[in-house]
């Protein structure tokens, strides 16, 4: 390790995900003798990176989430990577466009993907069979989803719910993105939220239909019986919910916790459009960034570029049981991958209608609000209309404040970025 440049790399992962990256770090360290990457597993990596950058002692590479990108870049926490990436030979054409989009903000490149995910409908084949549905045929439109939902719902003799076909709040991790399945976006990419548009209205009306059809208190009671997500009492595993929207990692949990003989299927989550041109999905990715003020940006980029090589990326993603973000995917990757539905997920990711997940500058506030309001509507305590209006008003205000802050510093900031890139 003597004489080498030390690159500090902070990452959020633990357990087998960490092991997968640690193996790549070791490979990199052994493949050359100029750079040594010191790999540190940190919980709350975004908070710690923010503090360290403020204190002037940031790491050289950090593993963040895609939704951190707008706020971190706008607030001066990241180094723009356009030039460094180009010099390292990384180009847009090498990537699946939706993941490349997630790494860009305000016309600059801020990150490179590490491991991505997309979401799909997962359904319990046994429950389909028992309800008289063809276990190999998933619903193809939202209307079909709802009709399957009716068939899959069972009640106890006392009227309470025993099982349900689908419940938007189980798991409820993509509620902010859901209006996409109703045909529209939630944000115009600039200063306006689009909750008032047709898709937003349709989404909240759909939420409202649940307590109307199944009863708010009954839904509440059913939800009260759900066990811990990472356990055999996960409602998808123990037969309480038949269809869920989940990401590529769900297979890991199924392997660990679902009962023996559990069979499930994967398909694009149905939307309102009866004949879509291509399947719709939401794409997310973990990202690698270089903090502003990092001491060894070039060496950091060298390490990141190493990870982006097809062979290394595919090994990393395979060991983490996720799909690959690259444009080209090798046959071995598809064949040897432990995930039974990897081809389906890879195809979804490559669909022209794969959308990057909503990445507002106010993402945390938006998600918090969405959870609160969606739950109130689903329990029948608030009308969809009221929830949508209140949330739109609050979030538009928060977004406005963030935009004002950006306006104040925009010139200075973009000039600084240009200078950094010209060095």
């Amino acid at each position: 390790m003597k004489g080498r440049v030390v690159v500090e790399y902070w990452e959020k992962w633990t357990d087998f995900e960490r092991a997968a990256m640690a193996a790549r770090v070791d490979e990199f360290n052994n493949s050359q003798d100029r750079i040594f990457v010191r790999f540190l597993s940190v919980s709350r990596v975004d908070q710690k990176m923010m503090l360290a950058t403020a204190g002037g002692v940031p790491p050289d590479v950090a593993g963040l989430w895609d939704l951190n990108l707008p706020s971190f870049s706008e607030n001066n926490a990241l180094l723009p990577l356009d030039r460094l990436a180009r010099e390292a030979g990384l180009q847009e054409e090498d990537y699946n466009p939706v993941f490349w989009k997630l790494c860009r903000y305000r016309s600059h490149l801020w990150a490179l993907p590490s491991t991505p995910s997309v979401v799909a409908l997962h359904w319990n084949k046994r429950m389909f069979r028992e309800a008289g549905l063809d276990p190999e045929r998933p619903p193809r439109t939202l209307a079909e989803l709802e009709s399957f939902n009716e068939k899959l719902t069972r009640k106890h003799p006392d009227g309470s719910l025993a099982q349900i076909g689908h419940m938007p709040q189980e798991p409820g991790w993509w509620l902010p993105d859901f209006p996409s399945w109703f045909g529209g976006a939630s944000w115009d990419g600039g200063g306006r939220l689009l909750l008032e548009a047709a898709s937003g209205r349709a989404f909240f009306n759909w939420l409202e239909s649940y307590p109307a059809r199944f009863g708010g208190p009954e839904l509440f009671r059913l939800r009260g019986a759900f066990g811990n997500f990472a356990s055999p009492d996960n409602p998808f595993f123990n037969g309480k919910v038949a269809m869920i929207l989940q990401g590529v990692w769900m297979d890991n949990f199924i392997r660990k916790y679902a009962p023996a003989g559990f069979t499930y299927g994967v398909a694009p989550f149905p939307e309102t459009d009866e004949h879509p041109q291509a399947p719709l999905t939401i794409a997310q990715t973990d990202i690698l960034v270089i903090p502003a003020g990092a001491r060894h940006p070039r060496e950091a980029m060298e390490f990141i570029a190493f990870l982006q090589k097809q062979k290394n990326m595919e090994t990393l993603c395979m060991e983490q049981r996720k799909l690959s973000p690259l444009a080209r995917v090798s046959e071995e990757f598809l064949r040897n991958h432990p995930h039974p539905y990897l081809r389906e997920f890879q195809e979804l990711a490559q669909s022209p209608r794969a959308q990057p997940t909503l990445c507002l500058p106010t993402m945390k506030e938006y998600t918090n609000d969405m959870l609160v309001y969606a739950n109130q509507v689903l329990l029948g305590r608030m009308s969809g209309e009221q929830a949508r209006e209140e949330m739109a008003a609050r979030q538009q205000k928060a977004l406005q404040a963030k935009l004002e802050r950006w306006q104040r510093v925009a010139q200075v900031r973009t000039a600084a970025w240009e200078r950094e890139l010209a060095r």
Binding site: W13, T14, L51, G55, A230, S231
Partner: protein, 277 residues
């Protein structure tokens, strides 16, 4: 008289037993979960006695956490430094606020109380900047140096105890021409042993279990403490290995538990006398 004493004893025992069981429930659950295979850990309602007990979870948890014994050594070092610094400085300061009369004392004491009311999140950033100016980021100093500057909680606690010791003790010594520091060291401190031990115990536990401080200020794995190391067993996406987490938690709790069990006996002996020697 004798009968009611026996009744009294048994009623107390029953009450203690029932409440004790309730209070000990978290710990029992923790130990019970640590001995289960992963699939059984989150079952509701839980099985209290896992059969067969998976003792293997313990070495597995230690291995999964990384350099467990290094973390333990770090935790111990920090705890020892913090206890030493806290007991010494808090006793000194508490004496000044309780057994001495001087102008501005009560006002300054209220300021001390007020420092405990400042919410931590907003103080974190300026504090971090301060430590960076001192060049302490990357060392363990931010985690033990402040203990020598007398934390408000312990000063307050000791002040209350010092105030409950009779005035005559110190008056007599002063009349004899004894210096204040001698009074502090030779009269008040020995009498306040139960309180000092309490402070030491609480500080040990606080430092042993503190993970926010190490999270913010430590950037090298070699400096990590046990509490921070436990974080390594909590995974965001792949599902927490509960059996390992609970096994590791049990191991982390044990030293504090032992320390408590051993020292609480001295509380038994602490019945103060009004001994005017």
């Amino acid at each position: 008289m004798r009968n009611s004493a026996i009744w009294h004893r048994w009623i107390c025992r029953t009450l203690l037993g029932t409440f004790g069981l309730l209070f000990a429930l978290p710990f029992f659950w923790m130990v019970s979960t640590s001995l289960k295979p992963l699939r059984e850990t989150m079952r509701m309602p839980p099985v209290w006695l896992p059969v067969p007990p998976q003792w293997q979870n313990y070495p597995d948890a230690i291995a999964a956490m990384g350099p467990f014994w290094l973390y333990a050594a770090n935790s111990l070092t920090l705890a020892a430094l913090n206890v030493l610094g806290t007991v010494l400085s808090s006793a000194l300061v508490a004496y000044g606020f309780s057994r001495l009369d001087w102008r501005g004392r009560d006002g300054l004491f209220f300021v001390l109380l007020m420092t405990m009311m400042i919410p931590f999140p907003v103080v974190m950033v300026p504090l971090y900047g301060l430590f960076r100016e001192l060049g302490w980021i990357g060392t363990m100093k931010p985690l033990w140096a402040p203990a020598f500057l007398a934390g408000a909680f312990n000063v307050f606690l000791l002040r209350q105890f010092f105030l409950s010791l009779p005035r005559d003790l110190t008056e007599a010594a002063r009349i004899d021409g004894c210096g204040e520091f001698r009074i502090f060291w030779q009269i008040i401190l020995p009498l306040a042993r139960p309180a000092l031990l309490t402070v030491a115990l609480f500080q040990f536990m606080a430092t042993w279990n503190d993970f926010l401080g190490p999270l913010i200020f430590l950037a090298r794995e070699e400096q990590y403490t046990l509490a921070l190391g436990l974080q390594a067993l909590q995974s965001t996406i792949s599902g927490t290995p509960w059996h390992h987490l609970m096994a590791a938690s049990t191991l982390v709790v044990l030293p504090a538990l032992l320390l408590f069990f051993l020292t609480q006996k001295t509380f038994l002996r602490g019945i103060a006398t009004t001994g005017l020697k």
